[in-house]
């Protein structure tokens, strides 16, 4: 009996083996882990690197996160518009100015649309721009340090949403207003909106060498909502396209009142023409208050400047510069294909996509085939500019990206899907569900002349059951699809931080080789830096005490300080003397009313401490820097305000 059982068991074993073998050879899509081809496609082995960087906007986190594709691993959160205690951004004396605005210090924003700088219509990987939606700002982030280098506030704007997209050679980064407002701002009844409120479209020049931004001009448009925008490219280079809604100019219950018109517009702006006009002295300089913040990599410091004037342009003063293209059903996304020929308006309340033709538009303009005007701006005839309609059968189209092989991919929010269709024939090729309610989508380079059409990332608004539940609040889900074949294939699903709206992707080989590893100590021009430990010292200027401190594994110089008094303003200026990759030191002081500092090799950062209590108070390094990290600490003696103890400092008794 026993033997018989054993025999059965081994037969059974053989059958199982046979079965599992069969599965390996056959259809393995739904099989677990490493057997599935989808798993292999997203698997990046330990120590190996991803093929693409993906930069996801942080939405209400105000920041920008960096992911790898295809693995979906998160590498970094770059603080942009929000204070970030992890590094001390927005808390350190050097970076507080980055968050200054004309409204004072604003430590948060809502970041939406990252866009990578371009040269000749292709990603050049120098900078990435992103908009602050709430208190209108545009930020520029270096793609060598992955740090925010510059933030400029946008006056006359509100709900900075149709932003921050760049032109083909990064001549301009564009910031369009979502809300129309009184320009200039003034005290007036809200229900007098119609005809009185206006919308500013700002063109911010980008210095080709340093990337520094400056508002070149603002086009003051009718009081619509300017929703999204994209640049012309190739043949349409020199033009910019903005979707509009609320052409009804409703000031209340927009949910209903802004959806009355069957068609709103895409505003086509010939910015080259406007540029020419202002270069010849056109436009009106008007008083304004907006702040320009610049971080200098050599001084490790940001400065804020209040600007007092902005150049505005009335579109009616430049004939031929601005036209309206009627587009059905409150269009949201406004996307331009890699050739620059097609402008796609996704009417978010429609099932169909409207594709305008740039050639048709030019012909209609030349033939002066107008269908009326809005506030003096000519409206082109819908039928004259239309190239085609994509009858997708989906609901709630939002955004379109391109693969560079003649295909377009559009997200549908209401029907939760991505639809692949063909440019020119408008036929639907494939559709795949998303989980759930997709907003933007991203193909690396998908908003340029040269997309890298291998992966598509769908950025969803709703997560629900995709991951283990973590209470009512969850991270958003993203899905990555393989788009190298005729049909899309869902590969992987990963959570993203904050609420990603748009994203931008770029091949790793364009960024990785020039990523900075350390700041060189001999290039450190911070006014409070100590470049050798013998310069470490403590100075008093009235109630201010400046501690010039250096760090290296694993001590602070000095680490014993006496002579500080209650009521002093104590500034720690700490220079990290390491010159090796990935050896930051941290700094934290007990009871300090601010965050820690995280100081990169060769960098100087400053932190303010206002001691309120007499005693001997410790500080320490917060970053596990070496085997002796727990020894990396020091003390400050705080004496009563009327004490006459002299300032003194030491390390190891010296």
């Amino acid at each position: 009996m026993k033997k018989y059982r054993f025999q059965l068991l081994s037969l059974f074993g053989a059958v199982i083996l046979l079965t599992s073998c069969g599965n390996n050879n056959g259809n393995n899509k739904s099989r677990g882990a490493l057997n599935s081809s989808a798993a292999e496609k997203v698997y990046v082995a330990p120590g190996e690197h991803d093929e693409f960087y993906a930069f996801m906007s942080g939405g209400y986190s105000g920041n920008l996160t960096v992911y790898g594709l295809p693995s979906g691993r998160m590498f970094k959160e770059i603080p942009v518009f929000s204070q970030f205690p992890t590094s001390g951004y927005g808390y350190s004396e050097e970076t507080k100015p980055m968050l200054e605005t004309s409204h004072g210090f604003v430590p948060w924003d809502d970041s939406h649309h990252p866009d990578i700088s371009q040269t000749n219509g292709e990603l050049d990987g120098r900078w990435i721009f992103i908009n602050g939606n709430n208190t209108p700002r545009i930020a520029r982030i270096s793609l060598t340090t992955f740090e925010t280098e510059e933030i400029i506030e946008i006056p006359n704007s509100a709900g900075n949403h149709s932003s921050s997209f760049v032109t083909e050679n990064s001549e301009y980064v564009v910031a369009g207003t979502r809300f129309s407002v009184p320009i200039p701002q003034r005290d007036m009844p809200i229900n007098e909106y119609k005809g009185n409120f206006q919308g500013a479209l700002s063109f911010i020049s980008v210095d080709p060498k340093h990337g520094h931004m400056d508002i070149k001009f603002q086009i003051i448009m009718p009081g619509f909502n300017y929703d999204l925008s994209h640049p012309g490219r190739g043949k349409s280079h020199g033009w910019f396209f903005f979707t509009t809604y609320n052409t009804e100019e409703a000031n209340s219950l927009q949910e209903v009142n802004s959806s009355q018109n069957d068609k709103d517009f895409i505003a086509a702006i010939n910015w080259k023409k406007v540029e020419e006009y202002v270069n010849q002295g056109g436009g009106t300089k008007v008083p304004a208050n907006y702040v320009h913040n610049v971080y200098d990599e050599t001084t490790h410091m940001a400065t804020s400047t209040m600007k007092k004037e902005v150049l505005t342009v009335n579109p009616l003063d430049i004939p031929g510069a601005v036209f309206f293209l009627p587009t059905p059903k409150s269009p949201h996304g406004c996307d331009v294909d890699p050739s620059g020929q097609y402008i796609i308006g996704n009417g978010k309340l429609s099932a169909d996509l409207t594709v305008h033709s740039f050639d048709n538009m030019i012909a209609a303009i030349e033939g002066k085939k107008f269908d009326g005007e809005a506030y003096g701006i000519p409206i082109l005839k819908f039928e004259d500019v239309l190239a085609g309609t994509v009858k997708s059968g989906g609901l709630g189209p939002l955004h379109t990206e391109f693969d560079g092989k003649g295909n377009a991919y559009t997200t549908f929010f209401i029907s939760s899907e991505v639809v692949k269709w063909k440019l020119g024939t408008w036929e639907v090729i494939d559709r795949k569900p998303t989980y759930y309610s997709v907003g933007h989508l991203m193909i690396p380079g998908g908003n340029s002349r040269k997309p890298f059409g291998k992966y598509l990332v769908a950025l969803n608004k709703i997560t629900k059951d995709r991951y283990l539940p973590v209470g009512p609040e969850m991270e958003h889900s993203a899905q990555i699809y393989d788009i190298s074949g005729e049909k899309m294939e869902l590969l992987y699903d990963f959570p993203t931080h904050g609420e990603p709206h748009y994203a931008a992707g770029i091949p790793a080989e364009l960024l990785a080789p020039k990523s900075k590893k350390i700041y060189r100590l001999d290039e450190n021009k911070h006014p409070y830096a100590v470049t050798s430990p013998d310069q470490a010292r403590v100075e008093r200027k009235g109630k201010e005490v400046h501690i010039y401190m250096s760090t290296i594994r694993s001590h602070f110089t000095p680490d014993n300080i006496e002579g500080v008094k209650v009521g002093d303003k104590v500034y720690f200026h700490i220079t990290n003397h390491e010159q090796d990759f990935d050896v930051p030191h941290g700094f934290a002081m007990i009871g300090q009313n601010t965050s820690e500092l995280l100081i990169m090799p060769g960098q100087t950062k400053s932190s303010l401490w206002e001691p309120k209590k007499v005693g001997v108070w410790p500080f320490y390094c917060t970053d596990f820097c070496s085997a002796l990290h727990q020894e990396m600490q020091g003390y400050v003696r705080v004496s009563p305000a009327n004490s006459d103890i002299e300032l003194s400092w030491s390390l190891g008794g010296d």
Binding site: G13, D534, E578, D580
Partner: protein, 166 residues
Amino acid sequence: MNAIIKLTLLLAAVLLLSCGEKKEKHKIQIFQKPKVEKKVAAPVSNEVPASKRITLDNKGVGKVKNLKLEPTIDNKMATRGAEIFKTNCTACHKTNKRFIGPNPTGILKRRSPEWVMNMILDPKLMTEEDQCAKDLLVEFNGAAMANQNLTEEQARDILEYFRTLK
């Protein structure tokens, strides 16, 4: 009876093998090549601490293989070296006493010029593969020497500066 069991087991084994072979084609490289650990078998002398030990024949591990010092000190190099030393090294090394790390005064009486250069240029490699550097790390309390990313030229200038220390 036994024969049947054997046959079944054999069949199972064959299937396993063939499965394995098929898998091979789609095999994903999960494991990286194991790092070849060089075992340095030199006996540790407990009598003389590493800092006092004389190891002039040992050139250490690293890119500096052979270095011949000129009989006279090059003052220009030494001056440059002193400057680089001040910025990059004095947080841990003092020239009048033992500090976080050893005092470099008289170092060339104990160590070869190559060893000193290699220690400056790649302290991590040295503490992994050079017995003397390993023992020094232990003797100095586990305070690992920082790689300051100096060029070979800069390290050479520091070496020249060390020659002036008396």
